[in-house]
Symmetry: C2
Subunit: 322 residues, 2 copies
């Protein structure tokens, strides 16, 4: 998950001077923010500070962020012509500032912890591009998917290429692992996932994999099609808290697993929080390949001390096992 955010005082200091997009655009700021959680929380990896929607800028979809609101895409994709008009995309030139931030962050980390690069998955990116922003129903997304499958597949194929090449470029810039965020794919039925998403996620992961960095394939609400997600690819599959870790793992025993603490558990008293952290670790006990993480992004108003405590709990329990 993205680790830096408004819940960190040191991040708010930067945000007072620069917008979200400005931080992303300025590699020295993005790198600084990327390192904040490493210093503050003692986590075992950093994740580059960026936004999954950054590719929408060079694609000329009219990306902006309204204050306190989610993203706005002023030129949404609703028809075949919109896909055909998408600008060409070259990660090195179009998102060179992210790659530069990765190089700076890797240098600043001095090998203390590895850096993770990331991108949005084709479905999740498409849902923003089609809806023009956030949605609860995904009605426009599914409408296009069902009514105009040719345009749908053309769009997702384009996005898969973009995302795959972008991830590979991040690995070449120094990211030691790559995460593909399919945050909203859980709005689909298992069958729709297979038909409308699977081939495109598979393409993106295959392209990303050419850089030989391990790929974490993340989604939420995916209990119904974890097997298909694993088949699409990923060395590690990310799961949320809606399914117990050990039960989720049964769907892809040959892969690693990432997860799956409910971010809201960080609001629980320390003893209750510890019980939940231990339960997750117990469910992973006896098997290698578990990356402890939240099941989705950290929420505003989270107390950083609670996050730091979780990192310590995980370290203590891991050490006790070895």
């Amino acid at each position: 998950m993205r680790q830096a955010g408004r819940y960190l005082r040191e991040y708010r200091v930067i945000r007072a001077k620069a917008s979200l997009l400005e931080i992303c655009h300025r590699p020295e700021l993005a790198s600084e923010v990327t390192l904040q959680p490493v210093e503050r929380l003692g986590v075992d990896a950093a994740i580059i500070f960026a936004d999954i929607l950054l590719p929408f800028e060079p694609l000329d979809l009219g990306l902006s962020f309204a204050a306190g609101e989610g993203p706005i895409i002023s030129k949404p994709i609703r028809a075949a012509g919109h896909v055909a008009r998408l600008a060409s995309f070259h990660p090195e030139t179009d998102l060179g500032y992210v790659l530069e931030a990765i190089r700076l962050a890797v240098r600043a980390l001095q090998g203390r912890v590895p850096l993770i690069g990331f991108a949005g998955a084709p479905f999740t990116l498409a849902s923003y591009a089609i809806e023009g922003g956030s949605t609860r129903t995904f009605a426009e997304t599914k409408r296009l998917m069902y009514q105009d499958p040719d345009t749908w597949h053309a769009l997702l194929d384009r996005l898969a290429g973009i995302v795959g090449h972008y991830l590979a470029a991040q690995a070449r810039a120094g990211a030691e692992a790559l995460q593909l965020f399919d945050s909203w794919v859980g709005c689909l039925s298992p069958e729709d996932y297979r038909r409308y998403v699977f081939p495109h996620s598979a393409k993106a992961i295959a392209l990303a994999g050419e850089a030989a960095a391990p790929v974490i394939h993340f989604g939420t609400d995916t209990a119904g099609f974890l097997d298909a997600m694993a088949e699409a690819g990923g060395d590690v599959i990310g799961v949320d808290w809606r399914v117990p870790l050990d039960k989720a793992w049964e769907a892809f025993p040959d892969r690693g697993i990432q997860g799956n603490l409910d971010p809201c558990a960080l609001f629980a008293p320390r003893a209750e929080l510890k019980e939940r952290v231990c339960d997750i670790m117990d469910r992973a006990a006896g098997r290698p390949g578990h990356i402890f993480n939240l099941g989705h992004g950290i929420l505003p108003h989270t107390d950083p001390e609670q996050v730091r405590a979780v990192v310590e709990m995980v370290h203590d329990r891991t050490a006790a096992r070895v």
Copy 2:
């Protein structure tokens, strides 16, 4: 699911004259709107026109609906004192207008189809009461749940009593089946469902069951704890499209099942829509106890002709089987 809504022209005619709450408050309007889908769509049951948040009016939580927005609860529940201050609740006097609407609708239906009564489940009502409206994260809800479990359980116990008695009163007024909507409970982990929700849903259903009308226990995103939902009660368990119908049914083979067409499937071309309807019915084939329905509420901009077509498809395929 609520069948009447803005997607129906005849409903918009009424809404031009009266707000959502005004329609609910006036039994003759609520009854009229209740019958609209029966006339227009040919469905096999009517569901009383009401809102799950109506009990918040006599409970004095400051319920209103902003134009084009969701509900607003101006006096949200955040502490033990707020629960203690909740007004007492008597369905016959406090929501007598709903019971009167049921009596009018039953009379107007003249036995053509049965009428379904409904209420919000304790968790879903609590989430609105605590958040003060709609939410994507349920952060305040879970914060109270984790930080102050005594207040949480006191609130849910109160709501369970309210909802249970309200449902039983609806059955006495003439509703032939009752539906408990736990629309948002799927934001929880299976363990949290067991610990924080299960006993209260069980209490509500037990109280409702005293009226001897069958109970449909509905939720979305519940693939991880369908067994626990069934254990809490309900003659029929409602499921959404995130899990295939036959697979969901494995979790409660001794109950009926309701579902599970994605409301967005109504945007699909007719042939594609039919394929999806048939797939659901095939998954239920050879077993009694399937109520065909959407997996969640109908969306605005849905073409009523598509809904009518689905009703016909279900009738045709059922007739072909007999």
